[in-house]
């Protein structure tokens, strides 16, 4: 049914165009029915995009190779989950996914806010529609997933590295994140265009931003785990341009989530906040452009295509239009209040913002430098790992420390004596941790030692906040300690959910420092029965086996693992030879010690015809804390996202007082 898919996308394009034109006219002329009509068009666009998506899913499930896209990205032998994941495995499908999520989010955001923030929604609709029109145009005219051909006997198959369970969730989560950032962008622009610069656009978009940010964060961690298990080079983050593409909007959104609190608490940073929203959205477009245009060399960039110029033009137009609107509204955006002291919570949040932005821009420069150097000098110069590591340490370590300082300083201003009192315990614990680690030999990496020390500082401040808060709640009449704790969290979900997210970042920092600054590596070519040693482990190469899977031939070397004379079982590492795709992939062997968080990581680099294998083995201390941090991050985000009845009542009361329908 490619005709139905094509027709559905043409309908989507028409609806988005209509929503754009009718939306602008309705807002300019103040026409109520036209505004509702434009909103309906946006909701209907989601329906028609859903129809197109169902057609593509059905074609993938049936292996209908008359669809060029299906034949190019799958094969008959591919397991069903991977056939379906090809929806986002290729360019045309992933653009369709963008459009589906965009129209879905747009429709939901409009329906949820159309009553209480109707004057904002009237202007947000054409913004959503403009973005939707661009993506609908791409999938209709430039990169259609519904192009057809005479069906070949079998498809070309899927890139082997994509045949991994993580690929079922990692790309959709990143797209949820990228596209989710359209919601704050649309409402921010809606607020600017309508001149309604009160707090409602922040309230309308707060949860959307959190959802997008969480999806981007979890998506990146899943991607890191995929790289760790599947790509087989011994690491989890390579500062690859496409990895950076997801990190940059996440950093910008992190900055926004912090600075928006200053606007809510103090009415400050209005210009800064709308600028951050525009930046996060532009970076999400840039991320999609990097992934899909093939303009940079990346292990994640699976396509070479002609959509690049379209994307660049749209990004340029978006940024130019947004800057124009911000400049136009500057007089209304100026804040009535000023920063009272450089030692205050808002100042700490501001420093946090500057560091996040500095890190984001340093990464951006690293990503675009090869493109610029090629354009200017005719030779692409890639900035290597040391460039990124330098800026991660220069900006990331102070950011880590600020995570502990910010929550304990008073809003407006704090005295030096107060700071000394407030920080005596976290500082003592951090110094003690640093000294103990130094004695244990952690001084071999100064950045690693500093990261651990700062992590101890932040962890202590978080624990103190929970302990003091629970104690205060108990004193205020909570019947038990668990009740006091849950009352504490329930009464300020954003604050305490935020602390849980900070705890996740501490775990992440410890995991990254442990696995990168204190890891060890050994290499050896082993014949059967020979052994090698690393980090207290002894590995004995026992056998080499070959077996057939549904879509690949699997070759596995088996190693016996012992540590200090204690048997720990066997590990398998080897390679998969994919028949249809005619490609070979590394399949690593990993033994995790959940007690210490350490991994033994084995790569069978080269398998010789005589059965000898060249092994590369890593011991990665604390690496599992990185994956654990993902779960804690998700928990913190869920707490912060959970609806707050008190806040709802406050908004309802406020809305009622000016005669707005109070439906939230």
């Amino acid at each position: 049914m490619p005709e139905l898919g094509r027709a559905a996308l043409v309908v989507t394009l028409g609806l988005c165009l209509y929503a754009l034109v009718a939306g602008v006219l309705a807002a300019r002329l103040g026409r109520r029915r036209l505004a509702f009509s434009a909103q309906n068009a946006l909701v209907a666009a989601f329906g028609s995009t859903l129809v197109a998506s169902v057609v593509l899913f059905a074609a993938l499930a049936r292996s209908d190779f008359s669809f060029t896209y299906v034949a190019r990205t799958t094969s008959e032998a591919l397991p069903m989950p991977y056939k379906l994941s090809a929806f986002w495995g290729g360019q045309e499908g992933s653009l369709l996914l963008w459009l589906l999520v965009l129209t879905g989010f747009g429709a939901a955001a409009v329906l949820l806010n159309r009553r209480w923030a109707r004057d904002l929604v009237v202007w947000a609709v054409p913004v959503f529609a403009a973005v939707g029109t661009f993506f609908a145009f791409l999938v209709v005219a430039v990169a259609s997933p519904f192009a057809t051909q005479a069906a070949p006997a079998d498809g070309a198959g899927m890139t082997p590295s994509l045949q991994n369970p993580y690929m079922l969730a990692h790309p959709p989560l990143l797209y949820l994140g990228y596209v989710g950032l359209t919601v704050p962008f649309a409402f921010a622009l809606g607020a600017l265009l309508s001149g309604r610069l009160d707090e409602r656009w922040l309230v309308a978009t707060r949860r959307w931003t959190l959802v997008a940010w969480t999806a981007l964060g979890v998506g990146q961690l899943l991607g890191a785990h995929w790289a760790y298990e599947e790509v087989g080079w011994g690491g989890y983050y390579a500062w690859d341009p496409v990895e950076n593409a997801a990190l940059m909007p996440w950093l910008a959104a992190t900055a926004f989530l912090h600075s928006v609190m200053i606007q809510e608490k103090r009415g400050m940073l209005r210009i800064w906040n709308v600028s951050l929203v525009v930046l996060a959205f532009a970076l999400s477009l840039f991320g999609t452009f990097l992934t899909r245009s093939g303009v940079v060399n990346s292990i994640h960039s699976f396509t070479q295509s002609s959509i690049g110029p379209w994307f660049l033009a749209f990004i340029a137009l978006t940024v130019a239009a947004s800057i124009g609107v911000v400049v136009w509204r500057l007089p209304q955006l100026r804040s009535p209040t000023r920063l009272e002291s450089v030692v205050s919570r808002e100042a700490a949040f501001l420093y946090n913002n500057l560091l996040l932005l500095a890190l984001c821009l340093a990464i951006f420069w690293g990503v675009v430098y090869p493109l610029l150097s090629e354009a200017v000098r005719g030779e692409a110069v890639v900035l290597g790992r040391s460039y990124y590591d330098f800026f991660l340490r220069a900006f990331g370590l102070p950011l880590l420390l600020l995570m502990g300082i910010g929550p304990l300083i008073a809003w407006r201003r704090a005295s030096l004596r107060s700071l000394l009192t407030t920080f005596r315990w976290p500082t003592a614990v951090a110094l003690l941790a640093g000294c103990v680690l130094l004695l244990l030999g952690a001084g071999s990496s100064i950045p690693g030692l500093v990261a651990y020390t700062f992590s101890a500082f932040v962890a202590t401040t978080i624990a103190l906040e929970f302990v003091r808060g629970t104690r205060a709640r108990r004193a205020l009449g909570s019947p038990s300690w668990p009740a006091a704790f849950s009352s504490l969290v329930a009464r300020n979900r954003r604050r305490y959910g935020g602390y849980v997210v900070h705890a996740a970042i501490v775990l992440l920092a410890i995991g990254i420092a442990g696995s990168s600054a204190f890891d060890s590596v050994a290499e050896a070519k082993l014949g059967r029965g020979e052994s090698m040693e690393i980090g207290g482990y002894t590995l004995v190469y026992r056998s080499l086996d070959e077996r057939l899977a549904s879509n690949a031939t699997e070759i596995r070397a088996t190693l016996d693992v012992t540590r200090d004379g204690r048997e720990l079982g066997t590990l398998e590492a080897g390679k998969n030879a994919y028949t249809v795709e005619e490609q070979v992939s590394n399949e690593v062997g990993i033994r995790s010690d959940w007690r210490t968080g350490e991994d033994l990581f084995v790569i069978a680099e080269q398998i010789d015809p005589d059965g000898s294998v060249y092994f590369r083995v890593f011991v990665k201390p604390l690496v599992n804390l990185i994956w654990l941090s993902g779960l804690v991050f998700l928990l913190g985000s869920a707490i912060a996202l959970w609806p707050d009845a008190r806040e709802q009542r406050r908004l309802v009361s406020r809305s009622a007082e000016v005669g707005l329908p109070a439906m939230r």
Binding site: M1, P2, E3, L4, A7, V11, L15, Y18, A26, A27, G30, R31, R32, R33, L34, A35, F36, S37, N40, A41, V43, A44, G47, S48, V51, R118, D119, V122, D198, E264, K265, R266, G267, P407, L408, A410, W411, R412, R413, A414, S415, R417, S418, E465, R468, G469, R471, A472, A475, L476, G477, R646, R650, V652, S653, R654, E657, V658, G659, L660
Partner: protein, 119 residues
């Protein structure tokens, strides 16, 4: 092919109906003007936001002081201006007392457990 085309036409018809629905429901409305906040309502909304902001800040300060996160010295410096700000926002609204759902913490000193910090 035929079924696909029929479904495509059906989809287009549904889309047109959805877009035309506001006009079909109200062919001759009493008013077709967007019901937006006027200048006075917008100003009041901003004043209400300022009131809620000030009350929330006061509530947070009281709680942070109670937990010991804010020292007595900082509390004494901050609480006066915040209370004045609350009073000012309430006055701007022509309102004599805090209202709405912002719940004040129990007054300072009540049920205090942290050591030696009571103002």
């Amino acid at each position: 092919m035929t079924i696909a085309l029929l479904l495509a036409v059906l989809l287009a018809v549904v889309a047109v109906v959805a877009v035309a629905l506001p006009f079909l429901r109200e062919p001759e409305p009493a008013s077709d003007t967007l019901d937006e906040l006027d200048e006075q309502e917008r100003r009041r909304l901003e004043e209400l936001e300022a009131r809620d902001r000030a009350l929330a800040a006061l509530k947070e300060l009281e709680f942070d002081h109670r937990t010991g996160a804010i020292t007595d010295e900082d509390y004494r410096t901050l609480v006066g201006p915040l209370r004045r700000e609350v009073a000012r926002t309430l006055q701007a609204l022509g309102d004599g007392s805090p209202r709405g759902p912002v719940e004040a913490e129990p007054r300072e000193g009540e049920g205090r457990t942290t050591e030696g910090r009571t103002a």
